[in-house]
């Protein structure tokens, strides 16, 4: 009659569909919350989801209900001092008389509906409508190639992959294990036989019996196979996808005196966005940080964002360094190369033309995409003008200005906008 069923192995995510429906239905509100979130999100936090809150009133399900007012009678427990006929001052609306759903309305204010988006959901909403620029190379390399790699041993396989040492070790262990008891018995029988034969009047019948036994044990020991089928061990090989879709992302930033903390912070966020974005499309991403003032150096992430130098600015130094690094470390056949440059637009006047030359002739042909953000109000600087000329001819070169944090995301979207083919 009783049935006990273990359901724990069943799917744990029965509600996933409904959850998805909910997110879909309130996409507008959630997308807004996501956009707000990135403005305040901690920089190092690239792996978590996000807590989203949307106003409760937006997601209420209506039903016929009594409103406030009228005359109601309710029974409560815990009377201490009242007797029939007492009057009580009306508590402030929504106060502690716990009278149904209206109570919380004015009393405490409606809470927002808060829930957690998973990282994937967050990223998907975050990057919705965006498409990785110039995906051509990625598309081609998408066909995953496999490497055959060793992965332990199995009990079956083809003769060519037999692991001889391991098979024979196993066989030996099995032989020892099976023979030992038989050998022990054989020895005792032989000893008895020997003792008997040294005796003056050997019991012939007993000798015959014992000899039979000796024969019997010897046969059995012999019958144990040297190598049995289940001793065989084969090398196991599995196919592992070889990551072809790898990318390197160059972050170029001006750290000269004019880049203050706030500007650097904006730049930082922009780089993070780009990193997230690439992260979705590539299995491996390397990031190269190049900072520059009058000279450029390759640094690690921490130094990149924290150090600050004084002095002038020579942008071409960074471009040259990047070109050199590409040549040395990132052959074009293996790498998709992206670059993002953040600057306040200052440059040594004679250098801007050199930058343009470098980009057009050397760098841009190797790149998937180059994004330049200028974190400054004024546009009409020489570097901007030179870059503007590049933009006209090269569709995978994009540039924008950002003034405040909240603009990062819109600008990023614009830069990475789906392009018409």
């Amino acid at each position: 009659m009783l049935q006990v069923i273990d359901r724990r192995l069943n799917g744990r995510h029965k509600s996933a569909v409904n959850r998805q429906r909910f997110i879909h239905r309130y996409k507008q509100q959630i997308r807004k919350a996501v956009a707000d979130a990135i403005t305040d999100r901690s920089i190092t936090d690239t792996s978590s989801g996000e807590k989203i809150s949307i106003p409760t009133r937006d997601i209420k399900e209506p039903s016929f209900r009594h409103g406030r007012g009228g005359s109601t009678e309710t029974v409560h427990p815990g009377n201490k001092e009242y007797t029939a006929g007492d009057t009580i001052k009306r508590p402030p609306s929504g106060g502690g008389d716990g009278r149904g759903p209206n109570a919380s309305k004015d009393g405490e204010g409606e809470d927002d509906f808060v829930f957690q988006l998973s990282r994937e959901e967050f990223m998907d909403l975050f990057f919705e409508d965006l498409e990785l620029p110039n995906l051509a190379k990625t598309q081609i390399t998408r066909t995953v190639e496999h490497d055959s790699v060793r992965a332990g041993h199995t009990r079956d396989g083809i003769p060519a992959s037999i692991d001889i040492v391991r098979s024979l070790t196993g066989a030996m262990a099995r032989r020892i294990a099976l023979q030992t008891p038989l050998k022990r018995e054989l020895r005792s029988v032989e000893e008895e036989l020997e003792a008997l034969s040294e005796c003056d009047e050997p019991d012939q019948n007993r000798i015959v019996v014992l000899q039979d036994q000796v024969q019997h044990f010897k046969t059995r020991i012999k019958a144990i196979p040297y190598v049995d089928e289940f001793d065989l061990r084969f090398h196991n090989r599995v196919l592992r996808p070889r990551p072809k879709t790898q990318a390197v992302m160059f972050c170029l930033m001006d750290v000269s005196g004019s880049m203050d903390e706030q500007r650097k912070d904006i730049a930082k966020r922009f780089f993070i966005l780009l990193y997230y974005f690439l992260n979705r499309s590539y299995e491996h991403i390397q990031v190269v940080f190049i900072r520059h003032h009058t000279t450029a150096t390759e640094v690690d992430e921490e130094e990149f964002f924290q150090s600050r130098e004084t002095g002038g600015t020579v942008v071409s130094s960074a471009l040259e360094l990047m070109n050199k690094i590409i040549a040395q470390r990132y052959p074009l056949s293996d790498w998709n190369i992206y670059a993002a440059q953040a600057s306040d637009g200052d440059n040594w006047p004679q250098d801007s033309g050199r930058c343009r030359e470098l980009l057009v002739e050397q760098i841009l042909p190797k790149l998937q995409y180059y994004a330049y953000v200028q974190i400054a109000v004024e546009r009409q600087q020489q570097l901007w003008q030179e870059y503007d000329a590049i933009r006209a001819e090269h569709p995978h070169f994009a540039m924008q200005t950002i003034i405040e944090r909240a603009q990062i995301y819109p600008v990023f979207r614009e830069l990475m906008q789906k392009r018409e083919a």
Partner: protein, 500 residues
């Protein structure tokens, strides 16, 4: 006694669960508890959250509101604001109870006693459940509903189905028959009836009729017949049957939602009784289990600790107070009936001449079978219990400056408190009384609802939203008259359909 103890430690195993079930079943049988066969399902905490958001059902159709429920529960659980209930039980045959894997073995025994025997016997015995729900068929019906709605989504698009369900859900509380005895029709009859109805409606709707010359006599005769002839409380049913031109698949979905509402309605009407009954029995069964030596002292303490927190009732001025705890009231009333039967006082004999000194098992069985919360409280709430709970009644009249204490737990107040508390559990009077009073079949096809106000209580403004949903389902203009106590229309709300 130690040799008998079923589970010395706190970890459970399948053997322990089966052993507990066996012993509890034996004891329950001695107490004449009549139950459906049990099906215990072990689930994880995440699955419990899933079950929560599906209103406890094992199978459910897809809708965003369940996702919302899921997210809300999950978030609150993660923040530690709520512990999960340690059981969910489904009114089905066999009766499915969920046991959470995190529970200790003692808790599993408690849940088995509470759900698999307490609730189970209530589902099987109570007249509301017997009349209105079909425990044999519910799981099959849920599967049908899920598949049907999924199929509709494929054929007509998710959005269309979602909008329809939104509208149906808004009216879910008005998809229930409370008075009519259900006429049990076979599925085939049902289909045939539905087809006939559809044809009838199609014949009725013919735009050409408008252009026919008016025959005064005929017209007057038909106009005099009001339709529906009596106000209809089951709005969803009326829409399903009479909405002028609703696609058949939409009618079926309306019907599914209506059926779900009907299935849950008895649970809304018997919250106190159902929980009280289950709590009384887990308490009695666990005590007997302990007396017979199947429970260790440690387990007994663990059980009692949990039991006392379940039936905890803070007073009205306690910050933890959020209304009367149905477990507390129900358990107290059930235990009180037993007390009145076994050791009645003079007062009990006066108030309960019929049951004082009677056989407690029979009396409680009778009470369980034949009442709902409202009538149960009206019948069995004893003066002693009112004193124990220190119940008092407050009148909140918005025309007066002060709240008034109507009655307290004294000789003069017992009857009034009992009556008011009973009313408080009357589902029908707690939700606004709204009925369909007129469906214009000859003219603009508009639908008129009427809200009869009680005690000057108005509808809150979400009513306009709900009305939009009614209009969406009906397909034509919808009006809602709020009628005051004098029978006059106080407010009229209207929703117009712009283009059909």
């Amino acid at each position: 006694m130690s040799s008998q103890v079923i589970s010395p430690g706190s970890d459970w195993t399948f053997e322990i669960i089966e052993c507990y079930e066996r012993e509890i079943a034996r004891i329950a049988a001695n107490y004449n508890l009549d139950t459906y066969p049990n099906q215990l399902e072990i689930i994880s905490a995440e699955q419990m959250i899933d079950a929560y958001s599906m209103v406890g059902l094992p199978v459910g159709y897809t809708h965003w509101s369940y996702g919302k429920q899921f997210l809300a529960t999950e978030q609150r659980y993660r923040r530690g604001q709520i512990g999960l209930a340690y059981e969910i039980v489904i009114n089905s045959n066999p009766c499915i109870s969920y046991l959470m894997e995190e529970n200790t073995s003692t808790m599993q025994a408690l849940v088995i006693a509470h759900a698999a025997f307490g609730h189970n016997s209530f589902f099987k015995g109570n007249y509301l459940f017997r009349t209105w729900t079909n425990a044999d068929a519910i799981v099959d019906y849920l599967v049908f509903a899920r598949d049907y709605i999924a199929e509709c989504e494929r054929r007509h698009g998710e959005l269309e189905v979602e909008l329809l369900l939104d509208s149906c859900h808004a009216l879910m509380n008005y998809g229930v028959d409370t008075c009519r005895q259900p006429y049990l029709r076979s599925d085939e009859e049902e289909r045939a009836k539905q087809l006939a109805q559809e044809q009838y409606i199609e014949e009725q709707y013919n735009d050409l009729w408008r252009t026919l010359p008016v025959e005064p006599n005929l017209d007057r005769r038909e106009d005099n017949v009001r339709f529906p002839s009596e106000p209809q409380e089951n709005i969803l049913y009326f829409i399903e049957k009479h909405a002028p031109h609703m696609d058949p698949w939409k009618r079926e979905i309306v019907r599914i939602v209506r059926k779900m509402a009907q299935y849950f309605h008895p649970q809304r009407q018997t919250k106190v009784m159902n929980e009280g009954w289950a709590t009384f029995w887990h308490y009695t069964l666990m005590n007997t289990l302990y007396d017979e030596g199947f429970l260790s002292d440690g387990s007994m303490f663990e059980f009692l600790q949990s039991h006392t927190s379940v039936i905890f009732q803070p007073g009205f001025d306690d910050p933890r107070y959020s209304g009367i705890n149905p477990y507390a009231l129900g358990f107290a009333m059930m235990s009180d009936i037993r007390r009145i039967c076994e050791s009645p006082t003079e007062e009990d004999r006066r108030w309960f001449p019929d049951i004082a000194g009677s056989d407690w098992l029979k009396t409680m069985d009778f009470a369980m079978r034949n009442f709902k919360d409202e009538s149960f409280i009206a019948q069995y709430l004893s003066p002693k219990l009112m004193r124990d709970f220190k119940l008092f009644s407050i009148l909140d009249d918005d025309t007066k400056d002060h709240l008034a204490v109507n009655a307290i737990h004294d000789e003069a107040g017992y009857s009034l408190i009992r009556q008011e508390l009973a009313e408080q559990y009357n589902v029908a009077s707690q939700q606004p009384d709204i009925k369909i009073v007129d469906a214009n079949r000859r003219g603009d096809r508009s639908l008129t609802l009427a809200h009869s106000r009680r005690a000057r209580r108005r509808l809150d403004d979400t009513a306009d939203e709900v009305l939009k949903h009614v209009a969406f389902l009906w397909g034509f203009d919808v009006r809602l008259d709020e009628i005051d106590e004098g029978g006059k229309i106080a407010v009229t709300r209207e929703t117009k359909i712009c283009a059909a």
